[in-house]
């Protein structure tokens, strides 16, 4: 080491900021292939996030609750505006929409079982509803996507809520993508497509084009389901203030806002990193929109995109969300990017060689699009998908949800709240000027919110 350091002193090693090694790698890749990079997961760059906020906790003026003894309610109700049967959840943490196709049937079932055990909901995706997931999920949200793959009135009536998907945080303005290696016979049949083709979903809905049309479309869904089910509208975070207002105008019971850290199974890297705004900023805009319309509490707000910990959940609720939705975190709980997978005997099996085959290592993998997930999460391969069984997957996912809930309640009690929904903006302080500005929370130690007088 010493020697290298000595030797390097004699070399000129002034790296360019604009053309650093990462950027030059990107240019060489582009030059070699003539095609953009496709990858999975969400934005990898550092963004202002919930980590840049802290709770103030109880103090002279506020009483804390006893951490282990006193009750702290986590009950959450979504869809109280128009639906005859709102969704009643035990916890404000839901599982985000991820398609059968992107994920294996085992994984969809595992997520359903975990959600059911924790009294929360799970969500279908751009491939229709599988019977495994319907049977495993007590509360299942059925997505209505631009592609309408497998969309049908039977499943609509079987659903507990309907989510009209306008966009997702990883790629607002883009449709789904499922490369041929994941389009196996069952996936192809569910989507009415030839097997093995590279499938690119529509990015626009086929039968409505704007918020006024959407209002009629939503009434159609309500009429078909006899006004029973809550209707959510999910938007990728861009012009969030206006989008939330328009979603309310269109008749949503619930608005789901997905920030740019939200994951995907496959899309262009440039899309993931450069389109959309951070979850933190989107959440504040969404809450402002609901407050300005006097709809806070009438229309519920669900935030997603990079929610990982109980602290993230608590901060989201304090900023004004009614619930959060988690996709990527659930996949990590199931083994995403882990160096091992667990066999039927409970033994950990090394997966590193499979990561190497994909040209990556555990901790760096974003190769969901290849369908060769070394830990069996984002695959349709009959052998790989056995690496997550519904039972072991459900246990891990349930443990993760349980941990988040305990952390959330711990923070709420420390802030003196008997109900996690009583967390409020006044409980927060920001650690950076950026977070203070985006979240509308004063910079710690000051009363300053950039942009506010």
């Amino acid at each position: 080491m010493e020697k290298t350091a000595d030797a390097s002193r004699n070399l000129s090693l002034e790296e360019s900021w604009g053309y650093d090694r990462k950027t030059m790698d990107y240019i060489r890749h582009a030059a070699a292939h003539g095609l953009y990079e496709i990858r999975g997961l969400g934005a990898k760059r550092k963004l202002p996030h919930f980590d840049d906020l802290v709770f103030l906790g109880a103090s002279m003026s506020r009483y804390p609750l006893e951490g282990y003894r006193e009750r702290c309610s986590t009950r959450t109700v979504l869809g109280t505006r128009f639906a005859r049967k709102p969704v009643e959840l035990e916890i404000p943490v839901t599982i985000a929409g991820m398609s059968f196709g992107a994920l294996s049937a085992n994984v969809k079932e595992a997520l359903g079982k975990a959600a059911t055990a924790m009294g929360t909901s799970t969500t279908t995706g751009d491939g229709g509803m599988t019977r495994e997931e319907r049977n495993a999920s007590k509360i299942l949200v059925y997505q209505c996507l631009p592609s309408r793959y497998g969309f049908n009135p039977e499943d609509l009536r079987r659903a507990d809520a309907i989510e009209m998907v306008i966009g997702q945080g990883a790629k607002p303005g883009g449709g789904g993508m499922l490369l041929g290696q994941k389009v196996n016979p069952r996936v192809a049949r569910m989507r009415t497509l030839p097997e093995g083709i590279d499938q690119r979903s529509a990015s626009r809905h086929p039968d409505w084009t704007g918020p006024d049309d959407l209002a009629i479309k939503i009434r159609e869904l309500r009429e078909i389901t006899d006004w029973e089910k809550p209707v959510y509208i999910k938007v990728g975070a861009t012009r969030t203030y206006h989008d939330v207002k328009l979603a309310v105008h269109s008749g949503a019971d619930v608005v789901v806002v997905d920030g740019m850290q939200g994951g995907t199974a496959a899309t262009q890297g440039c899309f993931i990193e450069h389109v959309g705004i951070p979850t933190l900023a989107a959440l504040r805009e969404a809450v402002e929109a609901l407050e300005d319309m006097g709809m806070k509490g009438t229309v519920q707000l669900v935030i997603s995109g990079g929610i990982r910990t109980g602290a993230d959940v608590a901060k989201a609720l304090a900023m004004g969300a009614d619930a959060v939705s988690i996709g990527q975190g659930m996949l990590v709980a199931l083994g995403c990017n882990s160096g091992t997978w667990t066999d039927s005997g409970g033994r950990h099996q090394d997966a590193e060689a499979d990561y190497r085959t994909l040209g990556t290592l555990p901790g760096y993998c974003h190769h969901c699009h290849t369908g060769r997930c070394p830990v069996g999460v984002t695959t349709q391969d009959p052998e790989l998908e056995q690496r997550v069984t519904p039972e072991t997957g459900a246990k891990r996912a349930r443990n993760y949800l349980r941990t988040l809930t305990m952390e959330l309640a711990t923070i709420a009690r420390a802030c003196g709240k008997q109900d996690v929904h009583h967390l409020e903006r006044e409980d927060l302080a920001a650690l950076t000027v950026e977070a203070a500005a985006m979240a509308g929370i004063p910079l710690a130690g000051t009363r300053w919110i950039p942009g506010k007088a």
């Binding site: 609509l156 039968d207 009629i216 009429e223």
Partner: protein, 232 residues
């Protein structure tokens, strides 16, 4: 009583749709007459039983949306999204249909006597659509399965990004969309056209199958292509 009728001018839509969502009793007449619809949206959406609905007048958006099994005949014009996502059954409009008629229909037959607007048969997933007049631009967009038969002309970008839907065109298209191409009609195609026209019934039976051309997918977008250079 051999039929039921509702007057939309005096009966709330909710009441009519709720009526049409229940299964008819064994002895009950399946025939339902709907008068004075006044362009109402979402009429008779989500039917799942063998009702036979006749509408006298114009309907708004999404009439007969997601229909299963039932039959509906409209003596008037229809708004956007007529019979969208239909699964089975039969919907006939004698007048014109606006945009996105038969969008993402998985099954059943949609017959449009007059012209259809933009995006007719968009995302079609196995349903059949027969149009007496012409269709607007982007018809058959990303259509995956089923047939779209147009006796008249088509606007721009007919069959853009087409999958396995077959389009039969009697007139001319202003342009074909990306990855759509004309292929020669074969004997089974002529039989297919004849059968579609026969199923549409009425004046369609007199249309000559010999004047149709076939538009299908060139399938060049089925696989990721590094050399495409975004030319599509």
């Amino acid at each position: 009583m051999d039929r039921v009728s509702f007057d939309l001018a005096t009966t709330p839509l909710r009441e009519i749709n709720a009526f049409l969502h229940r299964a008819p009793a064994e002895t009950e007449s399946r025939t339902v007459i709907l008068d004075r619809p006044g362009g109402v949206h979402n009429l008779a959406v989500g039917m799942a039983h063998d009702w036979r609905v006749t509408v006298h007048g114009h309907v708004g958006y999404y009439a007969a949306g997601m229909n299963q099994t039932a039959e509906m005949e409209i003596f008037g014009n229809a708004g956007t999204g007529l019979a969208e996502n239909m699964m089975s059954g039969r919907v006939v409009v004698h007048g014109f249909a606006s945009n996105a008629a038969g969008a993402s229909a998985h099954g059943g037959l949609l017959v449009i006597g007059g012209d259809a607007g933009l995006r007719c048969g968009i995302s079609l997933k196995g349903g059949d659509i027969v149009v007496g007049g012409s269709v607007g631009s982007f018809s058959g967009f990303m259509a995956q399965a089923g047939r779209l038969l147009v006796c008249g002309d088509a606007g721009d970008a007919l069959g853009d990004s087409l999958y396995e839907t077959v389009i039969y065109l009697g007139g001319h298209a202003r342009s074909l969309g990306a990855d759509a191409r004309e292929e020669p009609m074969t004997e089974p195609d002529y039989q297919e056209v004849e059968s579609l026209l026969a199923r549409a019934g009425g004046n369609f039976c007199t249309v000559d199958p010999g004047r149709f051309r076939k538009i299908v997918s060139a399938r060049s977008l089925y696989h990721w292509n590094a050399n495409a250079n975004q030319e599509y």
